[in-house]
């Protein structure tokens, strides 16, 4: 087990300070107006002023993220298991999974809203659709790419199909699944925020962060808009961070991705 590297935080922190310095200098030097690029302190002040709206929005978006993420993980894993368990299921069903992937969610959104109306329902479905594919694609690949020599080993010892799945295919697919999970975790907030902008109107006072952004931009609250961007970024970090932690917990002992 390795310790989480605290020393490596020093470099990004240093660069952050330099970056913020350049930010202030650029505004002063090029006389950039505040409605294009506010200073960091203006953004912080706006964030504090609007903290109730931002927090409520963030909470609502996180809720959509959590529901969308977990349903896509559950659905993705179940579909992957089905796809990996028989050749005909893979060959028959996978093209349709691809089709769903190739259809942009932006195009599907109006149809989804038509069916499920404005609000959390449609938003989570949009989130689900965006996170679903990387999980299915990666997990299926992992389940189907088992080393033939290890399959022979299981055959020599008369392993049943179930044992082969449980003790060989699933553990082998773990790194693939977690890679899919990481991609999905990064996409989930995007799905939820996009869902907010198109289906967030019905939520009333419980508007998600995406809808908050729409309101801020129409009101020309530019520093608050930047504050909303940073809040969205934090949600993304939260998700990816949690998945990375899970990744580390499950694989650090044996997988090569943790050899340095």
């Amino acid at each position: 087990m390795k310790k989480l590297p605290l020393g490596s935080l020093l470099w990004p922190a240093g660069f952050g300070v330099v970056f913020i310095g350049i930010w202030y200098l650029a505004i002063a030097w090029f006389k950039i107006p505040a409605f294009q690029l506010p200073t960091p302190d203006q953004i912080i002040v706006a964030g504090i002023d609007e903290h109730k709206t931002l927090l409520a929005g963030a909470l609502q978006t996180t809720l959509a993220c959590v529901i969308g993420f977990f349903t896509s993980v559950a659905g993705g894993v179940i579909l992957s298991l089905i796809l990996a368990s028989s050749k005909w299921a893979y060959e028959g069903v996978y093209p349709y999974v691809l089709m769903l992937k190739m259809t942009p969610v932006i195009v599907l959104a109006p149809i989804i809203i038509l069916w499920f109306g404005q609000g959390l329902g449609s938003i989570t479905i949009i989130t689900f659709l965006i996170s679903f594919f990387p999980i299915v694609a990666n997990t299926t690949m992992g389940l189907r790419s088992t080393d033939p020599n290890l399959l022979d080993l299981f055959k020599v010892y008369n392993a049943s199909k179930r044992q082969e799945m449980l003790h060989l295919r699933i553990p082998h697919a773990m790194p693939y699944f977690l890679t899919g999970l990481k991609i999905a975790a990064a996409l989930t907030p995007i799905g939820a925020l996009y869902g907010d902008t198109v289906a967030g109107m019905g939520s009333g006072s419980q508007a998600g962060l995406g809808f908050v952004v729409v309101i801020f931009s129409s009101q020309l609250k530019i520093p608050a808009l930047y504050a909303a961007a940073f809040t969205a970024c934090a949600i993304g970090f939260l998700f990816v961070g949690l998945v990375s932690l899970l990744h580390w917990k499950l694989l650090s002992k044996w997988h090569d991705s943790f050899v340095h």
Binding site: D152, L153, F154, K155, V156, N158, A159, H172, W254
Partner: protein, 270 residues
């Protein structure tokens, strides 16, 4: 009573005389590709340790897979232990090229994998793992993952895994091919020591003439395109063999004999 006893003795001697592995006119061809193995006839008696050696492409590994029933023969009969193919698997241990361990399982868990698949209890598994780990000298590495082990240690785990079910027949597919010569010699000696503890019959594939002479009771030299058994060379030195055995002139002579047999297989250089 005496009558019955005699019957049992007869039965046992009969059992012993019957070959453990019997191949009759076995051929193998993948689809419409070239013939890999052509008309192989082979009898392996209990207690034999047979080496398969020959140029690459002579079907040594294929022959091993046929015996293990991992792939079907194109024609001919294969019989292991006088029973069905299913019951034959119960008697089988298989050591693969390159250790072939589960990377997510510890050494102990890798060793007991066959037992897990046969639904042994946790307690039984633990006992057998401890015994085998000490047998192959890896007591200290029980909880290590494969990536923390050296090539030689991984191979030891792999052999211990194959022995965990106490097989009657052990098939080894180039088990030490990826190891350096020192480690290979050590493991050769250890393998023979293990055979004193568990008396299995063995068939192994190798590219090393010295390894073949050191380990086996009989060497089958195979020719390629198509794979055939070209020559059988018995190795008479008594077991147990030790590092000393390699230094004896008879050993060197035998190595020469096998090498010459292999050279005579070479296609003439144009």
């Amino acid at each position: 009573m005496r009558q019955a006893l005699k019957l049992i003795v007869d039965y046992q001697t009969n059992m012993d005389k019957k070959p453990l592995v019997h191949l009759e006119q076995v051929s193998k061809q993948f689809g419409k590709g070239p013939v890999i193995l052509d008309n192989i006839n082979l009898e392996i008696q209990r207690g034999d340790l047979i080496a398969l050696i020959g140029p690459s492409g002579c079907g040594k590994s294929t022959l091993l897979k046929l015996i293990a029933n991992l792939i079907p023969a194109s024609s001919g009969n294969i019989n292991v232990g006088g029973g069905s193919a299913e019951s034959a698997r119960e008697k089988l241990g298989y050591v693969f090229q390159d250790a072939n361990l589960l990377p997510w399982a510890t050494a102990a868990d890798n060793i007991t994998l066959p037992l897990k698949l046969k639904r042994f209890s946790r307690n039984q598994k633990y006992k057998i793992a401890r015994k085998l780990l000490s047998l192959v000298g890896l007591q200290h590495a029980a909880d290590h993952y494969p990536r923390q082990l050296s090539g030689g240690m991984r191979m030891r785990v792999s052999i211990a895994r194959a022995l965990s079910t106490q097989p009657e027949l052990l098939l080894l597919d180039e088990p030490f091919g990826a190891l350096d010569e020192m480690t290979r010699d050590d493991l050769n000696e250890e393998l023979l020591k293990l055979r004193l503890v568990q008396k299995w019959t063995g068939v192994f594939v190798t590219h090393s003439v010295t390894e073949a002479v050191f380990l086996s009771s009989s060497i089958l030299v195979m020719s390629a395109n198509p794979g055939r058994i070209y020559q059988e060379i018995p190795v008479e030195f008594p077991y147990p063999r030790t590092a000393e055995t390699r230094r004896e002139p008879e050993f060197q002579q035998k190595v020469m004999q096998v090498t010459e047999a292999l050279h005579s297989l070479r296609e003439p250089i144009r």
